[in-house]
């Protein structure tokens, strides 16, 4: 698609490549991000997918993709990317594939696979310096099975397996840091609600070779319990409250691409979602909200100090 550099909103692709009418829920923040990502990556791509919501994008005999697709399993989508990339390289080398028939290899998984079951395969792919782009749509729970808590679930969120009065007792795993620690070619967080930032990052990732990893915040009406019309607003609030930092890792350096200033209080984000309702009703849990705010403050204090 776009070989030009994206600087402004009007530079974003105006045509959309991904077909409509998929079985994703209305207001799916993951699909919102994928639409934008696919517009930039283009159709000369092959996706390897792990078990998750987006497995249902390609159900026989339909697919919204103009390019190729291989469903693998929950744990090994990056290994599928390895097999395809290696095979394409072998075919190119042995001149059994025309250079114009080459494909960009993309792995698409949810957070259940990316943060947990598939992490070993991802780590292996980074070790081997696999030339692929990994997209994780992070809806902070095992969404496809009814939003049980996953390793990406934030502290205190109510899920199908943390319905108690305090929600999920654990803390969201820092996948960005785990990936960056392995020194891949590129790591970035994005949100569909921030299309320009997303587009610039995908454009950057597209030009680089090696392991490139994208974590896309995926506001999830069914899993987070809010009206689908608010997905974009919630995505924006995740960024403006500092809960979802937009950043990228490249050449050994982490850069925050959008530092929210002034930063809104976290409760503006939390109160929009049913999964955090227990913090506000029947009475406001100031201690818990304060704890979450303090953690976000600490994060940004470290960012601005460095």
């Amino acid at each position: 698609m776009s070989e030009h550099i994206i600087k402004r909103m009007k530079d974003l692709p105006s045509s959309h490549l991904l077909g409509t009418g998929t079985p994703m829920c209305s207001g799916c923040g993951g699909l919102e991000a994928l639409h934008q990502i696919y517009d930039i990556l283009g159709e000369n791509t092959v996706f390897t997918n792990a078990a998750g919501c987006m497995t249902l994008l390609s159900v026989y005999p339909f697919t919204p993709f103009r390019g190729s697709w291989l469903y693998t399993a929950m744990a090994s989508a990056p290994a599928g990317a390895q097999g395809i990339r290696d095979a394409l390289d072998i075919l190119l080398e042995k001149q059994r594939l025309k250079p114009e028939d080459d494909l960009q290899v993309v792995t698409l998984t949810g957070d259940g696979s990316a943060y947990g079951m598939g992490l070993s395969a991802t780590s292996g792919a980074i070790d081997r310096n696999l030339d692929f782009l990994y997209i994780c749509y992070d809806n902070e729970g095992y969404g496809n099975t009814g939003q049980q808590y996953s390793e990406a679930t934030p502290h205190a969120a109510r899920t199908s397996t943390s319905k108690g009065s305090h929600g999920f007792p654990g803390y969201k795993k820092d996948l960005f840091a785990i990936w960056a620690a392995n020194k891949p070619a590129y790591v970035a967080t994005v949100a569909g609600a921030e299309p320009l930032d997303l587009a610039k990052k995908i454009e950057t990732a597209k030009q680089i070779r090696g392991p490139r990893l994208i974590i896309a915040l995926a506001p999830c009406p069914t899993g987070w319990n809010y009206d689908p019309q608010y997905s974009a607003d919630i995505g924006k609030l995740a960024v403006s409250t500092g809960v979802w930092p937009l950043k990228e890792y490249i050449d050994g350096k982490i850069t925050h691409t959008k530092i929210p200033h002034p930063r809104k209080p976290v409760q503006e984000y939390l109160k929009t979602q049913g999964r955090f309702k227990h913090m506000f009703e029947p009475q406001v849990d100031k201690a818990l909200i304060g704890e979450i705010q303090a953690r976000v403050d600490r994060y940004w204090a470290e960012v601005t100090e460095s």
Binding site: E43, N44, V46, T48, T55, L56, S58, V59, Y60, T63, F65, R66, G67, S68, W69, L70, Y71, T72, A73, A75, S76, P78, A79, G80, A81, Q82, G83, I84, D86, A87, L88, D89, I90, L91, K94, R96, L97, K98, E100, D101, D102, L103, S120, A121, S123, G124, D127, R128
Partner: protein
């Protein structure tokens, strides 16, 4: 020397498997080390380092990923070889089923080894039989020569346009993997000509021809359709195998019919066994024949697809058959025994006695005396007109040794408990 032989050389079963992959000119080897298979990938790695082969090898971080990469590469249109064993095969099991469903043709060598727990390194067939229902075809070998030759045959079979399924070539750990036997290494050009080039046809990824592979289905209708189609392809592989083996015989002079029969045509009794322990049965057959017992051996080379009709013919009119299973289905018994019973039941002239023996678990030897004992059991069963209950081959000496180990374990525990 046989026709079209490059050289005759002492090779281990693992070495023979590596040579099979080399002669098939495989493009890609996703790998993961596991005893007793590791020598295969080490050998191929060495050839890659010395530029003797134009193959790419990648070590994945697990067998699960290894099989995913193998299937994905085969689905992209290159010729793939891989190898595993035992726990590795089980770790990969989700993908073993999955890539067979992709109809991704490639060859995997499995070096059989008993399964945990308790963990062991020595062979039996519970690992390979766990893959029985996966859609992978299975070829079982008894000699190092067979390992090499069957690897070549397996590529033809896997890639055949009416089959298109992955194939496992199985050999027994230690007894075959580490045993050196004289092997005729086919002349590379003749081998290449026999195997042919891999024509991926429509199973591949290209920018100019986008494809969705392995997509989800909704409902039992499409699911049943695709699953049954895979079953039909596997069934079809039996006649395909037979014709490829015939072609191999014409090219290289070695016969690999679906069943190996040894002195069984005119026999009253038969042993049925898989894998290299069957060579022990051959030796026993010779001795029993000398002692006046009319007995032979039947060994399936192809286990999936199951050679129903070939078994019915080979065992037609036998008075009694002993199936010696080197595996144990917990709560049922020998797997080959059950499978054989299913094809013989109701068949005209089926042997009235089909006795089950379990032996060779975790590499436990089967002695000639035990084969004599089994033959005696068959003769008695015919006289009594009654099939004997299943038996485990296990001697009093072994039990005595086991009791000694238990006594030591007991004493050790007591010592740990009592303060010195």
């Amino acid at each position: 020397m046989t026709r079209k032989t490059l050289v005759r050389k002492l090779l281990t079963g693992n070495g023979a498997a590596a040579w099979g992959a080399r002669l098939a000119q495989v493009d890609y080897v996703p790998a993961f080390p596991i005893t007793p298979q590791t020598e295969i990938i080490e050998t191929i790695a060495q050839w890659i380092d010395s530029a003797e082969v134009a193959t790419r090898m990648v070590t994945l971080e697990s067998e699960h990923s290894m099989i995913t990469a193998a299937g994905a590469a085969a689905a992209t249109g290159v010729r793939v070889f891989t190898a595993t064993s035992s726990q590795g095969l089980l770790y990969a099991m989700e993908m073993i089923y999955t890539v067979a469903g992709w109809r991704a043709p490639f060859v995997m060598v499995n070096v059989s080894r008993g399964l945990s727990a308790p963990i062991t390194l020595e062979p039996d067939h519970n690992d390979i039989l766990a893959a029985r229902d996966s859609g992978f075809l299975q070829i079982h070998c008894a000699t190092c020569q067979e390992v090499l030759d069957q690897t070549l045959i397996a590529y033809r079979l896997a890639e055949h346009h009416q089959v298109r399924l992955p194939v496992i070539v199985n050999l027994d750990g230690f007894y075959l993997s580490f045993t050196r036997e004289p092997v005729h290494i086919p002349e590379p050009q003749a081998a290449a000509q026999f195997v042919g080039e891999y024509n991926a046809e429509n199973i591949r990824f290209r920018a100019s021809a986008p494809a969705s592979q392995a997509v989800a289905v909704i409902g039992g209708g499409p699911y049943s359709y695709f699953r049954y189609e895979t079953h039909l392809a596997a069934l079809h592989a039996l006649s395909t195998y037979a014709s490829i083996a015939e072609d191999f015989k014409n090219s290289f002079g070695r016969d690999y019919s679906v069943l190996e029969t040894y002195r069984s045509e005119d026999a009253d009794y038969a042993f049925v066994m898989m894998g290299c322990f069957a060579t022990k049965a051959k030796e026993a057959v010779d001795r029993l024949r000398e002692a006046g017992v009319s007995i032979g051996l039947v060994r399936p080379r192809v286990l999936r697809p199951f050679p129903d009709e070939q078994f019915r013919q080979a065992l037609n009119g036998k008075q009694a058959v002993a199936v010696i299973d080197q595996n144990l289905s917990m709560g049922k018994g020998g797997v080959l025994h059950s499978e054989l019973a299913s094809v013989l039941y109701g068949a005209a002239n089926a042997p009235p006695v089909l006795a089950s023996f379990i032996g060779g678990l975790g590499g436990r030897d089967i002695s000639t005396e035990e084969f004599f004992e089994i033959a005696k059991t068959l003769q008695n069963a015919v006289k009594a007109k009654q099939t004997p209950p299943p038996k485990l081959l296990y001697s009093e000496t072994e039990l005595r040794e086991m009791r000694k180990l238990q006594a030591i374990a007991h004493v050790e525990r007591q010592e740990l408990r009592s303060p010195s």
